[in-house]
Amino acid sequence: MPDPIDIAILNRRTFVAAGAAAAAFLPYLARAEDAGANALAPSQKFEDDFARIAGAVTPIEGKVTVDLPETAENGNFVPITIAVESPMTDADYVRAIHILSTENPHAHVATFYLSPVNAVARVQTRMRLAKTQNVVVLAEQSNGEMLILTTLVKVTIGGCGI
């Protein structure tokens, strides 16, 4: 039997960590709202995945371009193109690109791992969106920096049973 006091401490730590992550993400969301979006509260799963990927790093905006439709008529097939401005040299390259959704039942959509051999930090795929929400792209640089861009996508017909 684990000591109940230990459990209490662990839960409190997890809670505090999640709270810190939520607070860390708020400015980016607020920015998206300023751009005319409605207030969309991210899911707990999003908060957890965001905290797991970003870790102790505070993501900064810039260098990331995300091409998503403003309105997705079919949430089952939403094309997304992500490009990160990077020399892609051994000294300075994009290590990973993560796609997160704030309102899907599974927040973590995909991660793409890159290296200097790719020469261009640009990937394209198709994703599901259950409803109108923010798509958050995190790009992990070789120096440990994390870049972020949040894009609001309005969804007409949600991705069925995502």
Partner: protein
């Protein structure tokens, strides 16, 4: 069922050129959140990993969640050192890997 992998490479590239590689595979990408008409949950069945090698060296890797659309499509770039063989491997939740190869010709 994983089926029909499709790879698109340029017909011919120059050594040192950056090319775009487009990939598509037929797969239902069942999320695990849906129910059949009797209300029974449909188990999750997705491709969760995609790995690309060129001449045996890994050049690209991706992990997918249920948020990737059915028939996963991925495009990425690479600087090609010369002619060679690409190997693409998609692995599903059952641990089954589907492999496709493509030959890059260099002019």
């Amino acid at each position: 069922m994983t089926a029909n992998p499709r790879i698109k490479l340029p017909d011919a590239a120059k050594a040192g050129e950056v090319i775009e590689i487009k990939t598509l595979i037929t797969h239902v990408m069942e999320t695990g959140n849906r129910h059949d008409k009797n209300g029974k949950p449909i188990p999750r069945d997705i491709i969760n990993s995609f790995v690309v090698k060129f001449e045996g060296q890994q050049v690209f890797r991706a992990t997918f969640g249920p948020g990737i659309s059915a028939n996963p499509y991925v495009a990425f770039h690479m600087r090609v050192p010369g002619p060679g063989v690409f190997e693409f491997a998609w692995t599903d939740d059952h641990g089954v890997t589907t492999v496709a190869t493509a030959l890059l010709k260099v002019a």
